[in-house]
Symmetry: C2
């Protein structure tokens, strides 16, 4: 069982809301943790955002996101993301690796660049006390978005670095199909820095990025992954993060109520 | 290097052609092997198909396909597929496992049914001298088409059965993202029963099934997988199998010429 008090609303789930409005919505719904996105953070400004978050008494479960190491200006942008993560006292900076450079088929080379890019961030992350969470995206995003395509690969990458600084993100949408997933999560232990929930609904829409469903509305059995996250010793907040045009078009309060119902049903069935 | 003489045209690549027409097209192009689909085989009839294949001097690299073990009538249909494979003297019967039953989230249960379904086929396969090739589909098809979602999972499943009867299919489209793929292919050794090629092109179309590209037109580096297939000792035919509406709409002779060019370029670059 993961208690409903550990629910964090990832801001992407209520994409239409500004950060101040998302903070207010969390407070209104009795949610005490939020996952923040950098584009919305930039609109509000880091100092004002921190003031609003503190006034609301919200924990920041993650900052989304850094990475995209195969892009030219990645390092400078990631240093800025580290500073923002520290300023918000967020639990983790989520790293999505980026895909293949346009026209390239050099997957091994892209993966090497990701490893080098993370290595270049680790010293500054340690100075700031920021934790980096490597997120493997579903393999269907390997070419264009994230060459880190499996949880096992993300974990092997994290294990090259100090365990208090570099860990992994467990995201049910990206990982649910992986027969090796639960065992790998257990093995990750204290390297599990984040646990994110959404469901897989078929058929996927034309834009595969937006195919996520409310927890409980799709094909995923959350129990094996949740059991493994608990066994790994993870005690942090658990985010619901849903990218879905239809859900984005719904009233935020309705979406949040559904998030709370889905979370409670899935996280207390173990 | 894999010689061009080992190219097999999987019939799905020229979907508009009947089996007799596909056979003629192979002969016209100097291709000496074909992968046959059961729907087209049924139109022609097994005996007539065998006569035409022999007259043309074509090898049959695979029969596509059996499996779908999570459906109610799977066993009887798979027994029929075994008989057809034997009658055509095809190298392998390709097994695609089937997805989750409608409304189900019991992935572990579905996978157990697949294992049971294969076990039930093995005695008859051995009597007939038919080899069963388990194909892991890309994880994006896990819910609705194939719960065997990684090459490692397919191999572990095959390894429960005699090595001369149950093996695995290496398909670049489904496997290319997997960092563990090449090592697992090497480990599979004589269990590699088939090698199938197509490329991954982004963005995928709305129907993800139809997103495959001609070899060389997408994001895949074929060398690591080809090297591993060679190291595994595989000496059979190598199929090009492409599902793509645009390619299906092109003249078959044009498609086949492009298949031959792509195959030769990719298979002789090692």
């Amino acid at each position: 069982v993961i208690e409903p008090t550990r629910l964090s609303l990832n801001q992407a789930t209520v994409k239409a809301l500004s950060l101040p409005d998302a903070i207010d919505a969390c407070v209104a719904a009795g949610i005490s943790s939020i996952g923040v996105w950098r584009d919305r953070l930039a609109e509000t400004g880091v100092a004002e955002a921190k003031r609003l978050l503190d006034a609301a008494g919200l924990r920041v479960s993650s900052l989304c996101r850094g990475g995209f190491f195969t892009a030219a200006d990645a390092h400078a942008d990631n240093l800025a993301a580290l500073a923002e993560t520290a300023a918000l006292d967020a639990d983790v900076l989520v790293l999505v690796s980026g895909g293949l450079p346009p026209g390239s088929t050099d997957l091994a080379g892209a993966r090497a660049r990701v490893a080098d890019g993370i290595a270049a961030l680790v010293p500054r992350a340690r100075e700031l006390g920021v934790r980096l969470g490597i997120e493997a995206l579903h393999p269907m995003f390997c070419a264009d978005r994230c060459v880190v395509s499996s949880f096992g690969e993300a974990l092997a990458l994290a294990e090259r670095f100090p365990a208090d600084t570099v860990g992994v993100v467990v995201d049910t949408y990206h990982l649910w199909w992986d027969a090796a997933g639960p065992d790998l999560i257990r093995r990750a232990g204290a390297r599990v820095f984040s646990y994110q929930l959404s469901d897989w609904h078929v058929p996927l829409p034309a834009d595969m990025l937006l195919g996520r469903a409310h927890v409980g509305d799709g094909s995923i059995d959350f129990r094996p992954m949740t059991d493994a996250v608990i066994a790994a010793g993870y005690t942090g907040d658990v985010e619901v993060e849903i990218f879905n045009e239809r859900i984005w078009a719904a009233p935020a309060a309705e979406t949040i109520a559904k998030v709370q119902q889905g979370f409670t049903a899935a996280m207390t069935s173990n």
